[in-house]
């Protein structure tokens, strides 16, 4: 133990500045497993980003919305569907953002999931002023049920689902609709940014996380045709595609589920770099971990259980490969990243563990800062440079999320307390669970 502490001190001293570069030859010579772990991390996590940046600098027009053809000068009706329970004043901000849109041919349908606050009254004040309809569900039924309720009222050629705590910008729709010139496109997701980055250290970190996970990762997935989730925070769908899959299924993870069902039905999915959406993120650790616990369990329910048949390649090679990538990335990686260094320590009795940690920290921090700088340039809405001070501490933000993932994946796989109050119990008991 004393030797280990000594080693950490020596390592920090030797490699503090150039740890990333200095550690590589040592790792190559000392333990090939650790070296190849770093190579794997680079290939899986950094290479797609680098390819994306190279593509962006070589041909920026690839990332702009395609030109209008059929919809040039012809605005099809877009039905905005909002399902919410107790959104409070957020519903006002949300509806006002839609009403400020440059796109005028819209209808807004808010399905209120039997809110116990004054949300429904706040929404009803818009009913007489604009094309807004408020539907009060007689029973608390969960998000998917209320999306389906609002969907029943929708008459648009396109359907924009929007979370009550999110908002669009005036040009968001204009930057999404052109993608539907391709008649095989079922849905287009916007680039999602954090609305409240200044609220806490956690929201500042989430701002960076969202840029990389919901904008940049979604973009390279778009180019490869392997978009896994059209976010429930906001997505524009083709009405016929949603009708084709019968709207939203019950259970958790309605957005991932509807996306995979669209993929299975062989519809194309796109994302728009230029269409921006702002969303409110959890401010406190309690809310953040609760949200991520739900997301993790949804992910296992959808990918490992309900849609495991993707892995059989019945729905095509790309869908199959995407499923295996998801299994690796979402289910196995969290354990791998924690388990491998421990395994290396036990099996190989290597003394380079501190070197590994310091070099990994240096590597990830350096490239994360670089990623964010490029993402700022690409999106024109990345985190402000004034927020870059959180980058060295970003790993701290990942620790509770990793802990939540490690525990919740296991809990869901072992079916421990599978019910989540997000779906009322009376409905949960009637749903087939795969």
């Amino acid at each position: 133990m004393t030797e280990l502490v000594h080693r950490v001190i020596v390592t920090l001293d030797s490699y503090y500045v150039w740890s990333m570069f200095a550690a590589l030859p040592r790792l190559m010579s000392s333990s090939s497993l650790l070296f190849w772990l770093i190579v794997y991390i680079f290939v899986r996590f950094q290479f797609p980003n680098l390819a994306l940046y190279a593509g962006y600098f070589l041909g920026r027009r690839w990332f702009e919305p395609p030109p209008y053809k059929r919809y040039a000068g012809n605005q099809p009706l877009i039905s905005f569907l909002i399902a919410g329970r107790n959104p409070g004043t957020s519903i006002v901000t949300c509806i006002e953002s839609i009403l400020r849109s440059n796109y005028r041919n819209i209808e807004i349908i808010f399905a209120d999931d039997k809110s116990t606050d004054n949300s429904i009254e706040l929404a009803r004040q818009f009913e007489r002023k604009a094309n807004v309809r408020v539907i009060g569900n007689a029973n608390h039924s969960g998000k998917a049920a209320n999306l389906n309720l609002a969907f029943m009222f929708a008459r648009g050629e396109f359907v924009f689902i929007l979370d009550a705590d999110s908002e669009i910008l005036p040009d968001t729709v204009d930057n999404m609709l052109p993608y539907f010139e391709d008649p095989t496109v079922a849905g287009v997701s916007p680039s999602i940014f954090v609305r409240n980055p200044s609220d806490s250290f956690l929201t500042r970190c989430q701002q960076m996380e969202y840029v990389m996970s919901y904008v940049m990762a979604q973009l390279w997935r778009d180019r490869l045709g392997i978009i896994v989730t059209l976010s429930g925070m906001g997505t524009l769908f083709r009405m016929t595609a949603l009708r084709h899959i019968g709207g939203w299924d019950m259970g958790l993870g309605d957005d991932a589920d509807s996306t995979i069902r669209l993929r299975k039905a062989r519809w194309k999915l796109r994302t728009s770099l230029r269409a921006h959406l702002l969303t409110e993120v959890p401010v406190t650790l309690k809310h953040l971990t609760s949200q991520r616990a739900r997301w993790t369990r949804n992910m296992i329910k959808q990918r490992v259980r309900k849609h495991r048949d993707l892995g059989s390649f019945r729905f095509g090679l790309v869908n199959g490969l995407m499923w295996y990538d998801q299994m690796l990335n979402r289910v196995i990686h969290p354990y791998l990243f924690v388990g491998l260094p421990i395994l290396a320590l036990v099996l190989f009795r290597t003394t380079d563990i501190p070197v590994l940690f310091v070099s990994l920290y240096g590597y990830t921090t350096f490239f994360f800062a670089l990623d964010l700088l490029i993402a700022r340039d690409m999106t024109r809405r990345g985190p402000s440079l004034g927020n870059f001070w959180v980058i060295p501490f970003y790993s701290l933000f990942r620790i509770p999320i990793l802990c939540v993932r490690l525990t919740q994946i296991l809990r869901e796989l072992l079916m421990i307390d599978p019910w989540h109050p997000y779906v009322p119990r009376r409905i949960w008991d009637a749903i087939p669970h795969h």
Binding site: R124, R128, I135, G136, N137, N139, F153, G246, R426, I431
Partner: protein, 209 residues
Amino acid sequence: MVGGTTIVETELLLRVLAFIPKDAHLSPAWEARSRLGAVYGGERAGFDEDRLHEALETLANRGFLERIFVERLTTCPTCESHAINVHEACVTCGSSNLKRIVTYFHFRCGFVGPEGAFAKDPGGLRCPKCKGLLVDLGTDHDSPGVMFECAKCAAMFQNPEIGVRCLSCGAAFTAGAVDELHHRDVFSYRLTSRGDAALARGAIENEFA
């Protein structure tokens, strides 16, 4: 002229004061065919109803009668007629041709639709999405509520607009225009002490004296 009132008018006002029941109200009776929508039974005493109402209002304004509120009538802003039809109207096209529809939500697959979308089956209703059977309300399905469907433009909504048509002049009002409708209050009347005194004296005093 006495206090701005002609002798003929003064006589009418005195006759109207005498027409008010002692220690009771002169109450209106609803009469759809009348211009005001209510009559005060003046015909049996030889009064023209419109002139009687004018005289009652004059007397009330001058403090000889007290008004007691009975009802607020809504009237057409174009012709002031009380003969108006109030109906539920489509939020989109304003048509009154609406159908009330019961909606169901199937727990199992999440489908929400009007009752007509579910096929009738001997065991219950058959879900169009998952083909499952809806048997027991509250256990495998429930109703988000009663909605409306417009037979003219097919729009569906939960809260219809209020539409109004004047049956006298044909003017139609929907949505925000409903706020422009006029209102007229109908009162019963009773003698004040001033009215009692005028009646006992047999003269309407000059209010400006």
